[in-house]
Subunit: 322 residues, 2 copies
């Protein structure tokens, strides 16, 4: 992993590298929400991205940047979620061997999807084993290249292409709300917003139960927490990264938090009014805007919907929970 | 109601009349479905249309075609579903008074949405009253113009704009699958397909429980049935129309039927893999293609998803029913 901080030029390079491999996802609007908030709201729909989440952008960009020797040796990562599938699909498309270190109790559907993209899955016990250690051993013993989920310059640059597209499509914004876990998406988004809409106030949004990002931002140093409990399962990180934090610290306006109940309300709105499935984590930015955690009236508001991968029966439960 | 059969020129006129009032809905694709069917499948997503269904196209076109005197007197229609909201919103946008005749037991949410668009709702008892009679009395007594749900040249022409857009966006198709209720969408689609992709075989798809369209098509005369039971609540018509049937008879390749179980499987696919809410009726065309009721291998296949308006708790039940 390099410690060079990515810049907007890297996002532009990532756009070129992604080419047509990633979808240019649609930007949707809702008259209902515009009227409710008295604002102009633009939803960047990464739930329609390949593998159902923005993660494909960063994963593909990182794999595409490997040298011929690195490609030949293969890639390893640790993830039970969208990053695993992103790396698996990127490697399949770029003809690189992928190894994914996953908890032994990861949902069978997620394992199957990852294997379906041709990846090798190595299971570990959450309680007794350290996934990073397993991954690093593979790096040392088998010469694999580790592509971590967020703290990697090429991953961050790839994630930044979503907001680059959004701003190219709709023009400048006053406010932008972005889900925050480890900060790969937020830091990439900040690079694009700063370059293309420098007046835009960008907010990272994380679960109330796990506000390490907010604490870090407000104290000025990375705060570590025990992994929180929230339905936003893509944002259960315990700390921001060495690369993501400096970028967030420099460019973000603030970090906000929302409750699981607010995420469920947003999920229901998307299903009922916009006919979209958005996963709980994907609703973080939307929930902050919908609840007007900062004033949105009269503003041009961007909302990044990060993904749509949610187990159908859990999703059905969320829809019925009112 | 005029008995002049609409032609493709009317669809072109409707496109102009709709202007930016209707969304040009996205055409989405799924690598998963392409691989499963070994075909190239294009989904025209009218679930993302205003009011959540294609019906807005026909309703708006019909209201926009009224004379100044007709606009001043106002419009009436009978519907408990998407057509009611389509007319209500079209009238609101065009500053025309709308009266909607709805069953007294229509879902409260649907009544509220219709009233929310500024329409007057008149309730009737399904068992003891005839909605068409009520509407026609309003026409005679108050000089309102009746815009029926499907058997109307301007409505048909408006509905045809969806497939016009689809073919403009993706080029010619080999096969096209369209949901079939009263035939407004199918007949409009046939006009566009015949003009823009004349080699394309167009199939109407209706619920197995109510195959009046199939019987009519195959016998060559309109067959009336008692309103069927199916989860496809937008396709529970008892007969094709005087305008829709001749167009369907002339241009459709065949009428196919699917089961409620096949509709649920399609709904689950859209939620799980494409992150979209599609209502049961909206899945009719998709279910026929997914189950390969005609051979699709190696073909360029268009699928019209007609809408996404489904009660959330019913929808949650469908998602959990496997």
């Amino acid at each position: 992993m390099t410690l060079r901080l990515p810049i907007y030029d890297d996002v532009v390079d990532a756009s070129t590298a992604l080419g047509v491999a990633a979808y240019r996802t649609p930007v949707l609007t809702s008259q209902t929400m515009n009227a409710r908030l008295d604002a102009q709201v633009f939803f960047k729909c990464e739930n329609f991205q390949r593998i159902g989440a923005f993660k494909f952008r960063g994963g593909y960009n990182a794999v595409s940047k490997l040298s011929a020797a690195q490609r030949k040796a293969g890639v390893v990562t640790f993830s039970s979620g969208n990053h695993a599938q992103a790396i698996a699909l990127a490697c399949q498309l770029l003809d690189v061997a992928a190894t994914i270190v996953m908890p032994h109790d990861a949902p069978a559907a997620k394992k199957a999807a990852t294997v379906g993209y041709g990846a090798r899955v190595i299971s570990y016990h959450r309680q007794t084993e350290d996934r990073e250690q397993i991954a690093r051993a593979l790096v040392e013993e088998q010469g694999l290249t580790l592509i971590p989920p967020f703290d990697h310059a090429d991953v961050i640059a790839g994630q930044g292409t979503a907001v680059k597209e959004l701003l190219e499509d709709v023009g400048g914004l006053d406010l932008l709300f972005v889900p925050l876990g480890g900060g790969g998406l937020l830091s990439g988004s900040l690079l694009s917003a700063n370059a293309l809409s420098p007046e835009c106030a960008v907010y990272g949004v994380e679960p109330q139960a796990g506000n390490d990002g907010q604490q870090s931002f407000r104290t000025g140093a990375v705060v570590h927490i025990t992994p929180p409990h929230s339905i936003a399962d893509g944002a259960l990180t315990s700390a921001l990264g060495q690369l993501t934090f400096p970028i967030i610290k420099q460019y973000a306006r603030d970090i906000l938090t929302v409750s699981d109940g607010q995420l469920i309300d947003a999920m229901r709105f998307f299903a009922e009014r916009m006919k979209m499935v958005v996963e709980p984590t994907g609703c973080l930015g939307a929930a902050a805007a919908f609840n007007e955690l900062v004033p949105v009236k009269g503003k041009r508001v961007g909302i990044l919907l990060s993904g749509g991968n949610v187990d159908l029966s859990a999703y059905a439960g969320f829809l019925q929970s009112n």
